[in-house]
């Protein structure tokens, strides 16, 4: 194995390694957990496929072996669609964090702003964001900007509500502690509000990833000519094993994002994972 390949492998394993450190497991134990879970999932899939296909006398649900072989056979094409979807999802997450975190924290801490903005949030939050896809389409046209805006819109609400709630429920002793030491308003945000709310923000991001992937899928099947959503829809009717190869790839994308968030939490919230003094 070349040094370059080794370092790439190390980089790929880092999120799992970091995740293992949180749970005080060795890397081998953590990888084993993932492998066992994956095998159980494949087994359930295989059984479901056999039952459904036997009942329908048709090849309705391809088994895992066929789908996985298609992943290998169509690796190049899947990689292209994976890259397109991943880029959109990461851009949407970054946009959502950039908008929702500062706004949520400020609304959570500043009473006057909260009084005016919270009713707006409560009115707009229940509107299904998917209903706005056409509006975004009219504004931005059919392209990546619409995709990113669509998914970001979904994530923004989740993260904003979570950041707002976390900022509201801060331990006031921490605020008193830094204010009495002479902190300005900005310093209170920098030293208390932001670091104290990061765990909640990351949890909401973790919960929102599934929703983000689902909306990305819907948006890609609607207006895009690339991306995993487009690939899955294209093959769902007549080459279902290819469609399931796309679904597996989409699941891998979600898994990578979850592991990345775990690793990020490990870096940003090291204090949450220290060995506590009894």
């Amino acid at each position: 194995m070349t040094a370059d390949r080794k370092s790439r492998m190390r980089a790929m394993l880092e999120p799992i390694r970091a995740s293992a450190r949180f749970e005080k497991k060795t890397l081998a134990q953590q990888v084993l957990t993932y492998v066992v879970s994956f095998c159980i999932l494949l087994l359930i899939w295989q059984i479901a496929s056999m039952v459904i296909n036997a009942m329908s006398h048709n090849e309705l649900l391809p088994g895992p072996y066929r789908a996985l072989s298609q992943v290998v056979k169509n690796a190049a094409e899947l990689r292209r669609h994976f890259a397109a979807s991943a880029l959109r999802l990461v851009a949407a997450i970054a946009t959502a964090l950039f908008v929702a975190v500062p706004l949520g924290l400020v609304v959570g801490r500043e009473r006057l702003l909260d009084r005016f903005l919270s009713p707006m949030l409560y009115i707009t939050y229940p509107i299904p964001q998917v209903a706005l896809i056409l509006v975004l389409f009219i504004i931005f046209g059919a392209g990546n900007v619409t995709m990113v805006a669509m998914v970001a819109l979904v994530l923004v609400f989740q993260i904003l509500m979570s950041a707002r709630g976390a900022a509201k429920n801060l331990d006031e002793d921490h605020i008193t502690s830094v204010v009495s030491a002479g902190a300005s308003r900005w310093q209170v945000y920098r030293h208390v509000v932001l670091p104290a709310t990061i765990p909640d923000i990351l949890t909401s991001l973790r919960v929102s990833i599934g929703l983000g992937v689902a909306f990305l899928y819907i948006a890609e099947t609607t207006i895009m000519s690339n991306g995993l959503g487009f690939y899955i829809k294209k093959h769902m009717l007549f080459a279902r094993d290819l469609a399931f190869a796309g679904i597996i790839t989409l699941a891998v994308l979600g898994l990578i994002l979850y592991l990345a968030i775990d690793a990020l939490e490990h870096i940003l919230c090291r204090w949450k994972h220290v060995r506590r003094k009894p």
Partner: protein, 243 residues
């Protein structure tokens, strides 16, 4: 010198006004110590927060060094009940926080103070990894880092076991004598007030008013706890609180 004149503190709006403190007067010469003692919830912390510039009095005046207190000041340090440490900052970051906020760090840091308090080896630890006694010492290090003229303490040793509490009381005493800051301690612990206060003000139930003032001129030594004078002051305080 600390001067508190006719201090009244109220919370809430006009229709639901709660008066926490009413007409409290006292003064404290620079370098002396004062303990405020009273029943839980009587308003003693409100008095302390007014001294720290965290509360604006409804009436009366608070002056430190001749200037009115209108907000937190660099020459006044406050130690809270749980030491006020930020769990996401290491011991080093917590101890240097005041210096960072004032823009003095890294030109000045709390390294020497941490070392003198026996915390040199735990600089990279987080508060969750420390014992309660160590946490209080980090809080003290932070308060001392800006070399304050006035040290305010809000029940700083609550929830500690007796031995740790006494050890940290001894430390407070040593530091007070070494650095000669004015010390104002809020507590509901009679022994703590008698050990650390040269003067002890007993407050009434809410709204806090001065019930009595007990002089404690013999304090200032670690062995004072075992003395007859200490027991006499403690008895006096107990009777004043019960009256």
């Amino acid at each position: 010198m600390i001067e508190v004149a006719s201090l009244t503190i109220e919370y809430g709006r006009a229709d639901r006004m709660i008066r926490a403190v009413e007409g409290v007067d006292f003064s404290l010469e620079a370098g002396r110590s004062l303990a405020l003692i009273g029943p839980s919830g009587c308003g003693k912390t409100s008095v302390l927060f007014a001294l720290a510039g965290l509360l604006t009095p409804g009436a009366g005046a608070v002056r430190i060094g001749g200037t009115p207190v209108s907000g937190p000041r660099r020459d006044v340090a406050l130690i809270l009940q749980n030491a006020g440490l930020l769990p996401w900052k290491t011991v080093w970051q917590n101890a240097n926080l005041s210096l960072v906020l004032h823009g003095d760090y890294p030109a000045r840091d709390a390294g020497a103070i941490l070392d003198s308090l026996g915390l040199g080896t735990v600089r990279t630890r987080y508060p969750a990894e420390l014992s309660e006694g160590m946490k209080r010492r980090v809080g003290i290090a932070r308060a001392l880092s800006t070399s304050p003229e006035v040290m305010l303490m809000d029940e700083p040793l609550a929830s500690l076991d007796t031995l740790t509490r006494e050890r940290i009381q001894d430390l407070f005493l040593t530091l007070w004598r070494r650095y000669r800051f004015s010390l104002v301690l809020v507590t509901h612990d009679i022994e703590e007030a008698a050990f650390l206060g040269q003067e002890i003000i007993v407050l009434t139930e809410r709204p806090a008013q001065i019930k009595s003032v007990v002089a404690n001129p013999e304090m200032g030594d670690r062995r004072y706890r075992e003395s007859e004078a200490f027991r006499r002051v403690a008895t006096q305080l107990r009777e004043a609180l019960q009256a």
